[in-house]
Point group: C2
Chain length 285, copies 2
């Protein structure tokens, strides 16, 4: 492999959901503990063997996972990238506020990472490939910058795998809209279940892949509010709303119904939302 990226004929897009307050708030609920539990045992073992571990977090957004992952590397360092310099400013402020000193942030395209071959021990991405039209190209690039014997760890939603309770027509309509907007932006609606297939397509052998599924559960009053208000925010402003209206995927009236349905769901004590994510840990040969 070389430091130039593989030529591809697949059209490449970028992250399509934007960085509005509602989107960022929703992302900032995420931590290493609630979103990378599948990786932590591997990371602890790697740190035991090499306390000065170098970790890359690709597509880190506002960096709450990056900052909490860095705590597992007291003598190591974490580099976090995102396509947006603006969101990285927020990530830097978050890390500084938490007193995290072993993280640096750098704007970069996931398809063309500005790092030499084999320059990291662990390369991680969370909910990044699902936004890309050419996820296998990004995986090849993640593998390129990983040292032989190092790990690539990826966790991606499977947008079909959401379950609501209570199920109301407006919430089901919202779910279809979220899938449709993801597809209209060039992203993937079934990424979670395809991760093994993608890493094999990127040249990895099956024996070097450990696959699992992980979940998010929004059910306590606090979690219902965090999730529900983020969805209401997306419906009231920002790129999900504008994409839905522009493309005719939903009308203003339908969007208003969805807002009411989320408000009702937040108030409902028996309400639950389950989301399933695919996870792979790949040992680079």
């Amino acid at each position: 492999m070389s430091t130039t990226t593989t030529t591809t004929t697949t059209p490449r897009n970028t992250y399509g959901l934007g960085y509005e307050a509602s989107q960022v708030q929703h992302h900032e609920w995420r931590t290493a503990e609630n979103s990378t539990a599948y990786l932590l045992p591997h990371l602890r073992r790697a740190v035991e063997q090499n306390p000065g571990l170098r970790v890359l977090d690709v597509g880190a957004g506002s960096g709450t996972i990056s900052a909490s992952l860095a705590a597992y590397l007291p003598e190591g360092e974490l580099v976090a990238t995102d396509i947006s310099e603006a969101i990285l400013e927020r990530a830097r402020a978050h890390a500084a506020a938490r007193g995290v000193r072993n993280v640096t942030f750098r704007a970069a395209d996931a398809y063309a990472l500005p790092f030499a071959d084999a320059s990291f021990d662990v390369v991680h991405a969370h909910q990044v490939l699902c936004h890309l039209s050419a996820p296998v190209d990004a995986l090849r690039e993640m593998l390129r910058v990983t040292r032989p014997g190092g790990l690539v760890a990826v966790r991606e939603s499977d947008m079909r795998m959401w379950c609501f309770w209570p199920e109301t027509p407006a919430l089901e309509r919202f779910h279809r809209l979220a899938v449709d907007v993801m597809l209209a932006n060039g992203g993937q609606d079934k990424g979670g279940r395809q991760l093994v297939s993608w890493v094999l397509d990127a040249g990895v052998k099956r024996d070097d892949v450990e696959a699992s599924f992980g979940t998010w559960c929004y059910s306590t009053p606090e979690d219902r509010r965090a999730w529900g208000e983020a969805m209401i925010g997306r419906l009231k402003e920002g790129r999900m709303r504008s994409k839905a209206l522009e493309t005719g995927l939903a009308t203003e009236e339908e969007i208003e119904e969805m807002v009411k349905a989320w408000e009702e769901w937040i108030r409902t004590d028996s309400a639950t939302l389950g989301i399933m994510n695919g996870e792979v840990v790949v040992k680079k040969a």
Copy 2:
């Protein structure tokens, strides 16, 4: 509460999938570790406080989870029940073969447990309520035999929350058939997402409920074979096949196509199946 069960007008059924070899083989893949991870931290804490903990496992089937749960109670005891005396013979043999001495097995109806009020510290059921037409009645009965301050822990599949890769029409057809047979047997297809709602209906307060979702991932060659062969077994003999043919839910030709699709899936290195389960741990008031 009293030792007599609550009167109900909901018609009550029983477990509908039978105990054929393919079904039992599939169930015996299950252990405390791969199927009750959500409960284990609670169980460890309870054992620290009371080494002589008494645990009830309702609807234990062939008892592989019961036997592995008992290992967490070196000074405690576990009682396991099932509606079928025949499957309990197999469970006794499994426990004896593993040298597990602190488990006893007793035939019992989940709707009318033959135990006094408040006679267990922890009451557990795994994939039991989803087979019942009156799951809330069974939950009330589990709560009745739990001591105040004790725990009720339940994990139930949500049959809509399966994802396959590769997705083939015959596998999708199989999934619909599995859901349809569950419903035809009087069971529940969306139990996982309804657990919080069910326990609230059984009289529990929201603050006493901890909800989560857990998954099974079948992706390695061994796990693909274990799952796929169990599904092929169900299609070739036993109650799923007879129910499907009797009720016209599938034809012999369609079943043959599904068998071929599972055989192909077992052989496919990128194949994955993800299943999401609902989980609740309830503290009895």
